[in-house]
């Protein structure tokens, strides 16, 4: 738990353990992500890959271990030189740098698309309504949905909803963006438009991204690193070429065969 010398990791998980009752989902997990790196995590369901993202987003607290975001501990704070469990205030401060896109969108149904985007910037970042709406419209334009600004989520298609959700996450200008199977709940013909938006964010460069997905094509095109997850551990990692074309592990091979045969 020391400050690293040299280029700082953007995301760093140290010895993370998490059990849901009897189920030991994350086992002594170590993971680092460099600034602006795009990491794709693949693996069978129940392997714990979604849980990693949820731990980083503070949706599930780890039983033990540390999460460090851009050099700052997320779950701990330093007091009198000691590392103690952090208070809510501290967690919120560090969490500011992280945003998440959910498999089931989780848009606020009682707010319009634009309002979905402006709520948090106004309440959390302190933007005025004008500033928030300006930023919101810009982002809606970027994801191709400027004309849907005053529509409610119930009136949008799945692909449109997810694009609004991505814009909502971007509105917070996060350093780290997490994507939990962003296209798994979409009809096949809507997947492309969402992947295009995510690719756009990836190519633009600055944001550190972690994606859990089954879209291998996307991984090949946009990922810097691919991690294969199974039973709570990383069993293989490397560049997309290494892991996807030429996996070392049998488990990885079996998994890829099953996924790609759809």
């Amino acid at each position: 738990m020391s400050e690293s010398d040299g280029p700082r990791d953007m995301v760093r998980l140290e010895k993370i353990n998490l059990s849901f009752g009897e189920n030991h989902v994350l086992k002594d997990l170590d993971l680092t992500v460099a600034p602006s790196e795009k990491v794709v995590i693949i693996g069978p369901s129940g392997s714990g890959k979604t849980t990693i993202l949820r731990v980083i987003m503070t949706l599930n607290r780890p039983d033990s271990g540390c999460v460090i975001i851009d050099g700052r501990h997320l779950y701990h704070e330093e007091r009198d030189g000691q590392l103690v469990p952090a208070r809510e205030k501290h967690v919120r401060e560090v969490r500011t740098d992280i945003s998440m896109v959910f498999q089931h969108f989780n848009l606020f149904p009682h707010l319009t698309a634009l309002q979905n985007l402006t709520l948090a910037p106004m309440k959390v970042l302190g933007l005025t309504r004008e500033e928030a709406e300006e930023r919101g419209m810009e982002l809606l334009k970027r994801v191709g949905l400027a004309d849907k600004a005053s529509q409610f989520p119930g009136q949008l298609s799945g692909g449109q909803k997810q694009r609004v959700a991505i814009a909502r996450a971007l509105a917070m200008r996060p350093k780290v963006m997490l994507f939990d199977e962003p296209t798994s709940a979409l009809d096949p013909e809507l997947v492309g438009e969402v992947l295009a938006v995510i690719k756009d964010i990836a190519l633009e460069g600055k944001t550190t991204m972690m994606l859990v997905t089954h879209e291998m094509g996307f991984a090949r095109e946009a990922a810097d690193r691919v991690l294969m997850f199974d039973s709570g551990r990383i069993i293989e990692e490397g560049t997309p070429e290494q892991v996807l074309k030429d996996p070392v592990h049998d488990r990885t091979r079996a998994f890829l065969r099953a996924v790609l045969s759809h």
Binding site: L59, R95, H110, G154
Partner: protein
Amino acid sequence: MLSANQIQALLEGVSLTLRVFALAAVLGTVLALLFGIASLSDNRVLRWVSRIYVEVARGASAVVLLFYAAFAVPILLGVRSGRSFVFWAAVVALGVNMGGYGAEVVRTGIQSVPRGQTEAAISLNLRFIDRLRHVTLPQALVVMLPPYGNLSIEVLKATALVSLVGLADLTAEAQNLRVQRAVSGPRAATSLAIFGTALVFYFVMAQLLALLFRWLEQRLAGDWYRGRS
């Protein structure tokens, strides 16, 4: 039928009934929100306190709470149990009773909001208070309104009990008229007319309350609810 004077007497009773109801409803709603939200807290103590409040507030009937508040509590506080005190004691008793039932309605309403909503709000780093105000409660409200409307009507009916502790509400005025009639002779209005009219007044108030809630449901639900997927 009833004379103008008698109708006026009943209407004065209605005025007190409505005053007790309105104040008790405000208190009841505040308590319902407080304890309803507290019962979902991460803090075990808060959860337990809410649970106890809900069980006791509901388990003790309105009438028991009313008598206790009006006659036993003054002794505890060392206060004289005058008319003004009994009025406020009644408001508190009915409000506390309503809060017990209301807290359950609030709790169910909040639990009906999908967890993903709270998670999205957390991912956007909204504070607990802002999550509640802007994400959870607006969605919970739509689910809460119908049972809350029924509850309000129950509270309105419960105000009739305050006549038993000496307040001059509609029921008490009806009782008064009945007693007066006994000394007024044959020309007086029948007790059928007296209690019948009182029942009709209550009926009208209850229906108006029901209409109010239906209107609220329409207004608050809004377009988004109907288009919701």
